[in-house]
Symmetry: none
Subunit: 416 residues, 2 copies
């Protein structure tokens, strides 16, 4: 049993955009014994799409096509599929309804150009109520999936529609239960080494992982029939994975923003943030959650030293003696943010995002963190690698992780 994946898009074939959808699909299929023999990437070109599709239909047991389902003129996947399958292209009223519902949810009305997305090959099976994905039956009923190229939608359809359908068809009439672990501070290769053999000896278990910078996300899956048994197996896998990965595990299905926000709200704590090198990214991440105003009071983006002094009361003396990028400054920033906002917690970040501003003593990537509560303040320096964007992303993640660790155990500050 052997499948093929076809990725469609001029942005892929020009090298403008990297192909990540096929990799995700393979990382999910492979551990379940659903082998992919070949991936073919073509542009939004009817001839190339048709050729790849005909060829895949001729030799593959299942086919997954990604991309070209949008509303613009160069999205021709559905039309081309209809030609290859010899089916008429007609407007699916169910897809029209789905599209209208989705657009209404976003406060948009469905426009004529967008309705183009509802024109599907006759007999297409619509895969979900919230996107343009559909399924056709090839020779001998071989499933051929057509998924949107938008990674978020594509990944959801792989997990919720494609995997179950393929597992149903190819023998194991079984389900897959999955859990996610978010890992921060370990490179992908290191995560792979630590988790090597984790699934061995666990019936139906598989472990996949992929980088979502600055995290590496680990997907634990168990294939089986009996849900309680599968849950037990997942518990075992997760427990061992957490041991092997230590406190580099920063979250599960929820990201740090959700997890931290939930606890802050539950405990009625209010937070003030002082950001230098992250420049607002921490505030942006915290406020990406609805209702974050319940616990996020304010953020001070103190880029200049003057701002650090005026807004946070960092002393000229510490700036002179230790510099703006120092444990001392991070501590004063955290305490200043907490006190001046009359908040329960003050979180601070100051560092060198680069490319300029580094020194032998404090190279680019040097970032100090401060966390203050009513009992005291903890501050500490880290060194991150990468370019400016990567350093900012790692610094923001680490700041939120400090918050997570504190909320799990107040001694994180008091013990420092």
């Amino acid at each position: 049993m052997r499948g093929e994946i076809i990725c469609i898009g001029d942005e892929l074939i020009s090298g403008r955009v990297g192909e990540g959808n096929a990799r995700y699909a393979m990382s999910r299929l492979h551990p379940l014994g659903l082998t992919v023999g070949a991936v073919v990437i073509v542009g939004d070109n009817a001839q190339d799409i048709a050729f790849a599709l005909r060829q895949a239909l001729g030799r593959a047991d299942f086919v997954i096509c990604c991309g070209g389902l949008g509303a613009t003129d160069d999205d021709i996947t559905a039309r081309t599929a209809a030609e290859v399958f010899g089916l008429a292209l007609t407007e699916s009223q169910r897809m029209v309804a789905n599209l209208r519902r989705c657009f209404q949810a976003m406060g948009l009305e469905l426009r004529a150009e967008t309705r183009k997305m509802a024109w599907l090959p006759d007999g297409a099976e619509i895969l979900c109520a919230t996107c343009a994905g559909f399924k056709l039956s090839g020779p001998d009923g071989r499933p051929v999936f057509f998924l949107p190229g938008v990674p978020r939608e594509m990944r959801r359809l792989i997990d919720e529609s494609v995997l179950p359908a393929l597992l149903g068809r190819f023998g194991h009439d079984a389900a897959v239960l999955s859990r996610k672990l978010r890992v921060f501070g370990l490179e992908e290769a290191e995560v792979g080494l630590r988790l090597e053999g984790l699934a061995q000896g666990v019936a139906g278990a598989s472990v996949g992982f992929y980088p979502v910078f600055p995290e590496v996300q680990v997907q634990l899956s168990v294939l089986g029939q009996d849900r309680p048994t599968m849950e037990d197996a997942l518990d075992g896998l997760e427990g061992r994975a957490r041991q092997l990965l230590g406190d580099h595990v920063v979250g599960g299905d929820d990201g740090l923003e959700e997890a931290v926000g939930r606890v802050l709200r539950a405990r009625g704590l209010r937070l003030a943030v002082a950001e230098s090198c992250t420049g607002g990214l921490i505030g942006h991440r915290l406020t990406s959650r609805p209702g974050s105003s319940d616990y996020f009071d304010r953020g001070l983006i103190v880029y200049s030293n003057q701002a650090k002094q005026e807004l946070l009361g960092v002393t000229a003396d510490s700036l002179e003696r230790h510099g703006a990028v120092s444990a001392q400054c991070a501590a004063e920033m955290a305490q200043g943010a907490r006190q001046r906002a009359a908040a329960d917690l003050g979180l601070a970040v100051t560092g060198i995002a680069g490319p300029g501003g580094g020194s032998d003593e404090k190279p680019v990537g040097t970032v100090f963190f401060g966390l203050a509560d009513s009992q005291g303040v903890r501050s500490q320096g880290y060194l991150f690698r990468g370019g400016r964007a990567m350093i900012k992303a790692q610094a923001a993640e680490n700041a939120l992780d400090w918050l997570r660790r504190y909320l799990a155990d107040d001694a994180f500050v008091r013990g420092a």
Copy 2:
């Protein structure tokens, strides 16, 4: 003229490793008019490699194979190529010498297993002195390149061997010149409608566009030989596109951060930002540019009303009479930020990102902007569509666009 790329490796087909080599090759070839029609990814499997190779030889003007040239048992690309080309596999003494030199350079002696890398199809042209890459001639002398999968080596060979060889052979010294236009405030479909037929009648011209929310980015390209002619054609395309898209064009190759930052620095202006619903995203975008500390002094993320009063001097009276989401509040926030930071410009955003907090009078997506300079302040409300993340992204983009429009014409504030 149209090529194909074949990427070989079990690590690719299992999703364990992301494919980056083909993307690099395409990003280098495409601008030179060396079109890639398809990319095929297969595992270290003789049958799949042979099939992909035969097929590419049958229809492509050039072929680039990456991977499977190593010393381990599963590296079978050279052997498979010999079979497909009907050539004997013999030990290349020149490759043996190359390998020995490389290993000596690393202080290692050449081991028997490693010599396997020197067994190449008869007549293979060795591409460099430091790696296992080689070239064969297909039907009609079509070049077929075999490159190592190691990205560093593969990329060097693309630049130093493959590009010159292809440009030599397909010697229309044609190149592609491209320009980007960043569009904000129009949906992708609308951009498509407005630009329909733009490239018609312009030799070698093409127009592509793709959404990079909240922008739609338009790529104008011209393929040709004579650079001045091509530049003229691009000028014409860009001029017409700007007419058709109006002031929705917010930038070119540079994003708003770069463009705005450059002018602020050139004019020696310092900026203070006050963010409510964007929660730090504007600061994050501004500080994504190296050296932004030259013009970005500070940002105030004033999520609570109390923070708006304490940090910006917004009056209780206006909060009571107009509410935190109002033109009045946005104006006071901008002026407060500017005055308290002793900055030249104050930029403010306050709105309802949702999903909660909306009303009939001020629905979710209502966002007010304020921009203050020494002459006065402008404030105005907008209504954005979409979910929380989309509203934040559009609000931040619009705030930076206000800055762009002000820096292009100070009357943007004074005239208000």
